[in-house]
């Protein structure tokens, strides 16, 4: 249904995505993980045709078999919300503060689907019910600042679902929420995906949320896919040093002695360098704990692993 083949996005500052492959079947749930700066948000925007005006796309991106790589804005506009929809990280900022949330949700129903005010109102009410907003009729009349964080995210999900999209891209949908609310939003997304047969691209740096939400996993670093595979297997047995680092960096509250300091979040030293400073070879060179001399210069090809693919020189044949 959605197929990205060797998709690259070049910004004036450098290459934000480099040859990303991603395919999505109806109802499938894929997680995209990586630190900030790894290119995962750019991937989400690219799937929506919403990369910045200065970005140049290469490779191939098809949606329902149509090549969208060089599609114009008006062609993209016809697909957005109806075929592919997106929700964003900061639910407060993502809602127009001057409008009642009901008005916001009804807008695409009326403008895109041509429903009357009454029809749109009824649909919005049903959507609010579906996303589990309590007292949906009252919620419709409220302004964003009158809702809680979780309720706002639910309202945004309702907005994204308004035109029955086949694919939902969720960019860090739980980051701005506290853990308990986040878990419920993840469960909601999984349920909606199942009930509607809607594919889900779940972008997050939170491995626990991704494990809970998705079936397959794509690990991005510096615009490269460094590892991919079935989510549980990859997390249990990571093959790329970056994936290992991410898993090690995961905050685990359980094995912490009382009074002991919270484990440092970043077990990988440093952060993703700016686009212009990325090494030409393996993007992870420079931060990699098992780096070898050739890594920075030569780009590793994806190699099969027991549960998918990983791109690391250490996995190449003949490597020690």
């Amino acid at each position: 249904m959605l197929q990205a083949t060797s998709l690259s996005v070049r910004l004036p500052a450098g290459e934000a995505l480099r040859g990303v492959d991603l395919s999505l079947a109806p109802g499938e749930r894929v997680g995209v993980v990586g630190e900030s700066g790894s290119g995962k948000s750019m991937l989400g925007l690219a799937l929506m045709g919403m990369t910045p005006a200065s970005a140049r796309l290469s490779g191939r991106l098809t949606l329902d078999g149509r090549d969208m790589t060089r599609a114009r804005e008006r062609d993209w506009r016809a697909l957005r919300a109806r075929r592919i929809a997106m929700i964003f990280q900061e639910p407060m900022a993502a809602l127009n503060p001057l409008r009642r949330v009901g008005t916001t949700v009804m807008e695409p129903l009326r403008v895109r689907l041509g429903l009357t005010r009454a029809e749109a109102g009824a649909r919005a009410l049903a959507l609010f019910n579906e996303v589990g907003l309590p007292d949906p009729a009252d919620r419709l009349r409220q302004y964003p600042h009158e809702l809680s964080g979780g309720q706002r995210q639910r309202a945004l999900i309702a907005l994204a679902l308004a035109c029955d999209p086949a694919i939902l891209v969720a960019d860090e949908p739980t980051t701005a929420l506290d853990a308990e609310v986040a878990a419920r939003i993840v469960d909601l997304l999984v349920r909606l995906s199942r009930d509607r047969g809607m594919a889900l691209v779940f972008i997050s740096h939170d491995l626990a949320a991704v494990a809970r939400a998705t079936e397959r996993l794509v690990v991005l670093y510096g615009g490269d896919v460094v590892e991919r595979g079935e989510v549980g297997a990859v997390l249990a047995d990571p093959r790329h040093p970056y994936t290992r680092g991410l898993i090690a960096a995961r905050p685990r509250p359980a094995p912490r002695a009382p009074g002991a300091p919270r484990p440092r979040l970043a077990a990988i030293p440093g952060s993703v360098p700016p686009l212009a400073d990325l090494p030409a070879g393996c993007r992870f060179a420079g931060r990699c704990p098992v780096e070898r001399p050739e890594c920075a210069a030569r780009r590793p090809a994806p190699r099969p692993t027991p549960h998918g693919l990983a791109a690391c020189h250490l996995l190449e044949e003949g490597a020690p």
């Binding site: 506009r77 929809a85 900022a93 127009n96 001057l98 600042h145 009158e146 907005l159």
Partner: protein, 315 residues
Amino acid sequence: MLLFLLRRTVGFLATLLAISVIVFAVMNLLPGDPALTVLGIDSTEDARAALRAQMGLDRPAAERFLAWIGGALVGDFGTSWSFGVPVAGLIAERLPLTLSLAASGMVVTLVVALALGMAAAANHRRPGDWAMMLLSQLGIAVPAFWLAILLVLLFAVTLRWLPPGGFPGWGEPAAAASSLILPTISLALVQSAVLARVTRSAALEAMRLDFVRTARATGLSPARILWRHVLPNALAPIVTIVGMQFAGVVTGAIVIENVFYLPGLGRLIFQSIANRDLITVQALVLMFAAIVVAANFLVDVAYVLIDPRLKARAT
């Protein structure tokens, strides 16, 4: 909300009172003898004293102020020294013209400025944007009365399409309207240069907000996003400037009426200055200042109507 309105209204009235004190003080307490200015240096002291008594100038200032402001409250601004008729009547006669000019000037300003400003923001960093910025930079530097003269030169002297000035009276609506066209344009173009810039930068600011991305992701058209989502969120600074510009348009109308010989309040004020008719000038200045303050009061209230978040806080 009610409490907020009440507080603002009290503040508004207090400001009006303070303004009336200032106007009265400047016109009455500063050194100078109105009788002398009216009658001239050749007048005798007796004649001046008689005139002062007739004007009530021999009474203490505080008493005169209270009498003046008390009268103003019931619409009595005294009798014009030069016309010999009630000042209120003079004002009522000329107010419709000035208000029509100010209102049409403001409407044209808003339409031109919003269209240009939003178009420039939508074409940010493209030629249209640069052209608007250049044009508005120039527009800000052009005095409204010079623009008026240039318009007269083009449309009245050279092309002979429109009258160069004068006003036929409201009895001839078509002729009256056509005699307001050039004054309106002169008044509006310069103001809209300022407002267009403010609109542009406020819109650029609002376009960076996340919900604009949400609206795009919903597949809404750029025009819809611009006018229905960006503009309302850019309104606060625009409304602030519009409030200030209303003051500019009203005082601008004083100048423009004189360029086009329109018999409004602006002409009246200058006739009164020429005639040393202090009591009329005093009433008119108070009125204009009151209009300016009222515009700012309305802006304060408008903020709350625009933004539901403020409404919650205002209660």
